[in-house]
């Protein structure tokens, strides 16, 4: 997913086939004869379709992953960020500038309900979602400091956990533990500023099991896992990796940033290859570099502007 530039409406989708080593850019616009919109935030596969959340267009497109053609469209959002499917039809949609988590029906393409997070519109927002059992966990990033725990049977928030300033990403590992990175805010923020952290949470008890503190000035982000969730990856200048069972942060990056600016990250769920994007100057087409699980660079391909997220077609 290539975000494009905010208010430019120049987001795009690029498709890469690791077997053929071929990339196709701007696939949505080429297939549908109209652009995808302003800031593509995220995409998930569900029910044989790719669900693409276009943040500042206020829309979610469902596309056929074979033809990239639009087959469904959900509108009515304020500023959608992520979609998470709970079953065949039901999904949650998180938003920024709107603290309500929207409940949507993916068949009728309608918003059926809202989950009240207790936050107000001006200061509340919700981000990524991870499901363990009947609970969905949501990190609240922008000027927030907590993870929400939602009971999907009642669509209500059952608990909140304060983890640190601005938890920016959330994943789960092979042991059904949650991992979150807090970016610590920024210097001079009236909300507060602290060192960034990586925390492991026990999902059942909903407590912080362990917090790893980064160095002052570090900017960790973009958490990812390998296919079986045994290794946790993130970007902090270079690309770092640690086993889910490790008790300390790695000292050296798996992949050092030499003359590149890593922007986003994903790991092939099948073979463990690492894909990292480089947004270059943020106003030109970016590139994606593919590395082996050991961190050896394999190849590079060009994509659209600000490649900010990835989605694996085989995960459908």
């Amino acid at each position: 997913m290539c975000e494009g530039n905010y208010m430019y409406g120049n987001a795009s989708l690029s498709y890469y086939d690791p077997d053929e080593k071929q990339v196709q850019n701007e696939i949505f616009a080429r297939s549908n004869a109209f652009p995808i919109g302003d800031v593509v935030q995220s995409m998930v596969m569900h029910d044989g379709l790719g669900w693409v959340v276009v943040n500042n267009s206020g829309v979610i497109f469902a596309i056929d992953p074979a033809t990239f053609r639009e087959v469904r469209r959900i509108t009515g959002f304020t500023s959608p960020r992520y979609i998470h499917f709970l079953g065949e039809r039901k999904a949650y949609v998180t938003q920024i500038w709107d603290p309500r988590i929207y409940v949507v029906d993916s068949q009728t393409c309608t918003i059926t309900d809202y989950i009240d997070t207790g936050m107000d519109f001006e200061t509340g927002s919700t981000e990524m979602m991870v499901q363990i059992g009947k609970y969905v966990y949501v990190n609240c990033w922008s000027y927030q400091n907590r993870i929400l725990m939602i009971d999907t049977e009642t669509d209500t928030i059952t608990k909140e956990l304060v983890v640190g300033i601005q938890p920016s990403s959330l994943v789960k590992d092979c042991n059904d533990k949650l991992w979150t990175i807090t970016d610590g805010g920024y210097e001079g923020s009236p909300y507060g500023h602290e060192r960034a952290t990586l925390s492991r949470l026990d999902a059942d008890d909903f407590v912080i099991e362990q917090t790893f503190l980064f160095e002052a000035g570090d900017t960790p982000r973009a958490l990812a896992t390998n296919g079986d969730g045994t290794v946790i990856y993130w970007i902090n200048g270079g690309i770092y990796a640690m086993k889910a069972s490790d008790e300390a942060l790695p000292v050296q990056p798996l992949i050092s940033a030499k003359n590149e600016l890593f922007y986003s990250l994903t790991v092939d769920p099948v073979n463990g290859d690492i894909y990292a994007s480089d947004a270059i100057d943020y106003t030109q087409n970016g590139i994606v570099k593919r590395y082996s699980p050991e961190g050896i660079m394999l190849d590079t391909f060009s994509v659209g502007i600000n490649p900010g997220n990835f989605c694996w077609r085989e995960s459908m």
């Binding site: 109209f34 709107d98 519109f121 200061t123 400091n145 304060v162 920024y186 909300y191 087409n285």
Partner: protein
């Protein structure tokens, strides 16, 4: 550009009352007197003066519209009635300094000026100073400067001018000017108001709708007709000018301009939100006031000015929660107070020698809050405290200028100047300027100039939360230009002026806002830019007998603006490429044909493609904004009745209904109409 005036303009003539007897648009043509009247103060200056015919064509036009059709500078419009910025010679909007009656009106927060908020009827004189020539007025104009001025009426007694207009998209315009010209006291009162739903429709090629058969299977698609959403306009301007001529060569002036604007922020054409149930608007209330004193002696002119600029700006983004209650999502607020002082002395030390000293000072106070957040300390409280994210800063700026202008011979003039600028506690290096011109013959003048220049960071650049960067360096540059100007006329028959200028500029430490890894943006001194090219302009007027007259002007500019900075990383493809949103070519023209009391004006402009990515990639559909040509016409008819002059005007904008964008995905209107009635009572 050479100073060019199309003889007497309609506006000036209106003040001279000649047309109350004969309401013809055919105006006298004066003979050019370039050689004899070449002013010392303008040696080597590259300057374009816009005449009042351009400024007063229709009451609904903003200065952005005037500059689009009457100059070679690039006007970037974010929609009808939306933000419009201008840039000279391949530079950025913040590289254009703008003064109103001598006081800089660039936003100290953003550095730029919104020309859509300046009605052309509120400007009596507009002068463009290209490149180095801007340093005679102010520093920081890496591209140039635009001087907007009001002037006392030359018509004695009372003079009233009232205009009402109605146009497409539920647009209503009103304008009233009451002038009084006494022996010593002159006054001008102006009011202008515009209301528009601005809900134009357009074929939206950025979206598709589908048709379905009875079984609900898609069987076709089409590009929908969309409506410009959240684009309403409500502007009110009030201006009062007083001019008093006292004994002993003293002149006093007071200019006050009040503006209240409430405008929607139109949604992008790729936005699927309906616009209904949303508030998405910005408001601005601004007071600008300048008072001045000037004394002229036999060999000197001294003047002083004091000014105050007060602005309250806000942006509101709210949506209906579904129960009729509007929930505020963003409520950003800014308050700007700027106090200004200026003094200048000109001494004509000899017949061909003039010395100028000038000091200007600005004290800015800015309080800006971008959004509110919860206090983390109280975030778990039942009623958590909110905190404003913003800054509250003040900055003192001053600029001193010394110049010597010398006509070494009748044909050869030199000018040398030094400018020194202070911002906060930082002092710029000395900024030298050198100009020269040479009269090749009585029709032809050659001009050259060279200068350094600096533009210091804006308050947002330094202090915006999050992202403000207090370590930014000023942008710095060198600029050179050389040009030739031609002027020839035959009194009463024809007049022709033309000029061509080559320019070459190097700008270091160009400030660019780029994203950080924490999700916000921050400004950095990133680019090194080489902007060069050619500007040309021609204008003229021809009388075809006593009843017919044709006049016109045309501009063409070639403005490569190339990024020569260091690569961001090894994959950077932007080096050696044209900057984003700067056209390499632009052209404009206005041609007017007058027959007695009829006049038809044809306005035309063209911009070449503008890249939207720094690597200038045009293999995708989103890498550029396509070139466009815009055509407008205005047909006017004047009537003279015993008690008044009446003028009827019909304007057709976007005559050929071109589908175009000035900025990617910002919709623009198709063909639209405006009709105006202007009444000017006679007080004989």
């Amino acid at each position: 550009m050479s100073a060019t005036l199309l003889g007497f303009s309609a506006g000036v003539l209106a003040q001279n009352e000649w047309w109350n007897n004969d309401p013809s648009y055919v105006t006298p043509i004066e003979e050019s007197a370039v050689v004899a009247e070449r002013p010392l103060g303008e040696i080597g200056q590259q300057k374009t003066s816009l005449d009042s015919a351009a400024l007063c064509l229709t009451v609904s036009q903003s200065m952005a519209d005037v500059l689009t059709y009457n100059s070679s500078i690039f006007v970037k419009q974010y929609g009808r009635g939306s933000l419009a910025t201008v840039s000279f010679r391949g530079t950025a909007a913040s590289h254009t300094q703008v003064t109103w009656n001598g006081m800089k009106i660039n936003s100290p927060m953003l550095g730029m000026t919104d020309f859509s908020l300046i009605p052309s009827y509120f400007t009596d004189r507009a002068t463009l100073l290209h490149g180095s020539s801007s340093l005679a007025v102010t520093g920081g104009g890496l591209g140039g400067a635009i001087m907007l001025e009001t002037a006392p009426s030359q018509k004695p007694g009372w003079d009233i001018d009232a205009v009402i207009g109605a146009g497409s998209y539920s647009t209503w315009d009103g304008f009233l000017r009451v002038n009084y010209g006494g022996h010593k006291l002159k006054s001008s009162t102006r009011v202008a108001a515009t209301i528009s739903k601005n809900d134009f429709t357009y074929r939206n090629y950025k979206k598709k709708e589908y048709t379905y058969d009875k079984a609900g299977i898609p069987n076709g698609s089409y590009y929908p007709i969309d409506t410009n959403r959240c684009g309403s306009i409500r502007d009110l301007h009030l201006m009062q000018d007083f001019y008093y001529t006292a004994d002993g060569g003293n002149k006093l002036s007071l200019n006050v301009w009040l503006m209240s604007s409430l405008r929607g922020v139109p949604l992008l054409s790729v936005d699927y939100r309906s616009g209904v149930g949303y508030i998405n608007q910005q408001n601005e209330n601004t007071l600008r006031a300048v008072t001045g004193w000037e004394k002229s002696g036999n060999d000197y002119i001294v003047s002083a000015k004091a000014g105050w600029l007060h602005t309250r700006q806000g942006y509101d983004f709210a949506r209906d929660k579904g129960n009729g209650e509007m929930a505020t999502m963003i409520a950003s607020r800014s308050i700007i107070n700027t106090f200004h002082a200026f003094t200048q002395g000109k001494w004509f030390a000899a017949e061909r020698l003039m010395l100028t000293a000038q000091v200007a000072a600005y004290q800015h106070f800015v309080k800006s809050t971008d959004r509110n957040a919860l206090s983390m300390v109280s975030s778990t409280a039942i009623t958590p405290e909110k905190i404003a994210i913003g800054y509250d800063e003040a900055r003192f700026e001053s600029s001193a200028y010394l110049s010597v202008k010398w006509n070494a011979t009748k044909n050869l003039g030199f000018s040398a100047a030094l400018r020194e600028e202070l911002y906060g506690d930082k002092l710029s290096p000395i900024i030298p300027v050198i100009n020269a011109d040479y009269l090749i013959n009585k029709y032809l003048t050659a001009k050259i100039s060279a200068s350094r220049n600096y533009r210091y960071p804006t308050l947002n650049d330094l202090y915006f939360l999050p992202g403000g960067n207090p370590d930014l360096l000023p942008e710095s540059g060198y600029s050179y230009d050389a040009g030739i100007a031609f002027s020839r006329s035959k009194e009463g028959r024809w007049k022709f002026n033309a000029s061509a200028t080559w320019f070459d500029s190097y700008i270091d430490n160009w400030i660019v806002w780029i994203p950080t890894f924490k999700g916000y943006w921050t400004p950095r001194n990133v680019k090194k830019v080489h902007a060069y090219g050619v500007e040309t302009r021609a204008d003229g007027k021809l009388n075809l007998g006593s009843d017919w007259q044709v006049s016109g002007s045309g501009c063409f500019a070639w403005t490569p603006s190339i990024n020569h900075g260091d690569p961001a990383d090894w994959a950077d493809e932007a080096i050696g490429k044209q900057l984003v949103y700067i056209p390499q070519f632009s052209a404009s023209s206005v041609i007017a044909l007058a027959y007695r009391n009829w006049r038809l004006s044809y306005k035309w402009c063209w911009y070449s493609e503008r890249y939207t990515t720094s690597d200038n990639d045009i293999t995708t559909r989103i890498g550029r904004v396509l070139p466009y040509i815009m055509n407008d016409i205005v047909l006017e008819r004047r009537f003279a009745v015993k008690w008044s002059s009446i003028s009827l005007k019909l304007a057709v904008n976007n005559l050929f209904d071109e589908e175009y964008e000035s900025v990617l995905n910002h919709p623009m209107p198709g063909r639209n109409f405006e009709f105006f009635i202007e009444v000017t009572p006679s007080f004989k």
